[in-house]
């Protein structure tokens, strides 16, 4: 065809628009999402928790990380107790004399940080891995999936202990350990979706338009593989928080001076039989509420994002 052909007026009559209003995809999802009151409430809880976590240093009555502020002479005070200096412990104190309320706020902060960050990194790593495997297929796929199998088979505890020994203790190390055990799930999940998407004709169209592999993988394939990832992501955030708690219970988690919710529960676990319920039950309830809300939101998202269940 000659360059700059003059536009023709097609003889086909213009078609009527398919829908009266151009609707934003996110708007559609949001409208569907808000149809469930429970989901909206859960989302509200998540947001409140997130804000509380972010603002923990400002709203917590005490800085539980500061060894100067806490005193073991305040240890194990019941909820509502007041110490000689007149400090009011609304939810009591733990075995170290930390104000439970403050410790829980900071713990929430750590837990969410650990859960969300490890989730995001694991998603990024897993998604890149899974997409690559699915796009290239063949030998690449086989080798990469065996690596995934290997990772899935390794006990979390051993991974955590090895990393603890090699890298030392700290929030970043725990996140690393969680990423190590989580990414493989995402790689698996994404590969499944990507294999389906890979076979769709828009990918072939992109190939015939001579677009680069990187562009096809990340600009075409990736966005279409994300919805299921988002859903597993919310569940994995919850499971990361829970796993971190279990690691802490086994003594492989975070530094004990900077407790997460899981570590608080694990610490308080020892007091449960003695009737010092608040040390374990309060953070337990908080964790329950958080994970519960995240899961409700995730469930709802899954329903909303699943075209088969959409009306």
């Amino acid at each position: 065809m000659t360059e700059g052909a003059k536009p023709i007026t097609t003889k086909s009559p213009p078609l009527a628009p398919a829908q009266a209003k151009a609707e934003n995809w996110f708007r559609v999802v949001w409208t569907d999402f808000t149809a469930s009151r429970a989901a909206v409430a859960a989302l509200g809880v998540c947001i409140v928790m997130l804000i509380a976590a972010i603002l923990a240093p400002l709203i917590a009555p005490q800085n539980p990380y500061d060894l100067m502020e806490i005193s073991m002479f305040d240890a194990r005070l019941a909820p509502g107790a007041v110490n000689p200096e007149g400090f009011h412990f609304l939810l009591g104190t733990d075995g170290q004399g930390r104000d439970m309320l403050s410790a829980m706020l900071y713990g929430l902060r750590t837990s969410l940080f650990v859960g969300v960050l490890s989730g995001i990194i694991a998603i990024a790593v897993g998604v890149a891995f899974g997409l690559t495997a699915a796009y290239w297929g063949g030998m690449v796929d086989t080798v990469m999936m065996r690596v995934v199998d290997f990772m899935l088979g390794f006990p979390t505890i051993l991974v955590a202990l090895m990393l603890l020994a090699i890298l030392g203790q700290g929030v970043d190390k725990v996140i690393f350990a969680l990423v190590m055990v989580q990414w493989a799930y995402f790689a698996r999940a994404v590969r499944g979706t990507a294999l389906v998407e890979r076979g769709k004709e828009y990918v072939e169209a992109a190939i015939s338009l001579d677009l680069s592999h990187a562009r096809i993988v990340f600009s075409h394939l990736l966005p279409n593989c994300l919805p299921p990832v988002i859903v597993i992501g919310t569940m994995q955030v919850a499971s990361a928080i829970s796993t971190e708690a279990t690691l802490s219970f086994l003594g492989l988690g975070l530094p004990i001076t900077e407790p997460s919710l899981g570590l608080l529960i694990a610490n308080g676990f020892n007091y449960l039989l003695s009737g010092l319920y608040w040390i374990s039950v309060f953070p337990g309830l908080l964790l329950l509420v958080v994970i519960f809300s995240i899961n409700i939101v995730g469930d709802r998202l899954r329903d909303v994002l699943n075209p088969r269940l959409q009306r």
């Binding site: 003889k11 086909s12 009559p13 078609l15 009527a16 398919a18 569907d32 149809a35 009306r311």
Partner: protein, 326 residues
Amino acid sequence: MAEPLLSIRDLHTHFDTKAGIVKAVNGVSFDVAPGEILGLVGESGSGKSITGFSILGLIQQPGRIVGGSIRFAGEELVGAETTRLRQLRGRDIAMIFQDPMMTLNPVLRIDTQIVEAILAHENVGRAVALGRARDALAKVGIPSPEERLKAYPHQFSGGMRQRVAIAIALLHRPRLIICDEPTTALDVTIQAQIIHEMRLLCQEQGTALIWITHDLAVVDSLADRLCVMYAGRIVEQGPAGAVIAEPAHPYTRGLIDSIPSRNSRGARLKQIPGMAPSPLALPAGCPFRPRCSYADDACLNEPSSIGVGAGRDARCVHPLVARVPA
């Protein structure tokens, strides 16, 4: 014409969706006589399948038959007990679906799926049922049915699967079979085979057939009578040959004209302008009005069905053939 086997009057089936009420079937009436082949054509989304499902009471949430009557051999099916409907399904009224790849359960063996259909209506032993299943397969021309019974659906080609579905439909010698685009997904050669077999079986057993399709050519070569659906209504019906030779409704005309044919080679095709209306927001009056070149103010009122020839009627204010008082 003989006493109708199936008589549908003013059927309304609606879907209550978030976006609004979808009037998928919006006042459909037609009769089917025993042994008759009725073609039901129309654009995609015009409500053909939903009409078929309504007859069997298989409308799923959020759909509902909101009005009208379906009488089968004198018995009212709208609002009938589920147990009664279940007795009729498969035994008196059978249905064959559009997509042969999807109608058989992929994880169950062919024999299981045939035998369970037999046992659902007859109290016979498994061995007897198996024998019947084998005969049924043989009847629809599946070679070595004995072995094929043990196969799974994926081991069959599309045509063979569709034949299994037909075999299941014919098991109890039903009086009416609803074929919902049974050959759309198949090749012409297979399509020919299936049409051939169906017709043969109907002639043998005196079964009535509702053949749902959007391929007018198939209907023309097969059906006795023809119903044309548009936006949930029947806009024209009559003997197949007559309707196709001389359509009365502008929509039928448009449909026939837009099919490429021998003599159209290289020429531009005629096309129906515009799009099918959304079932959520049907235009007032004649739903075809916005796309119709004959439309005028008279069309703003809902047209009623008028006689346009022997056994023919159309829902149009400006029929393309002479109006004949009923």
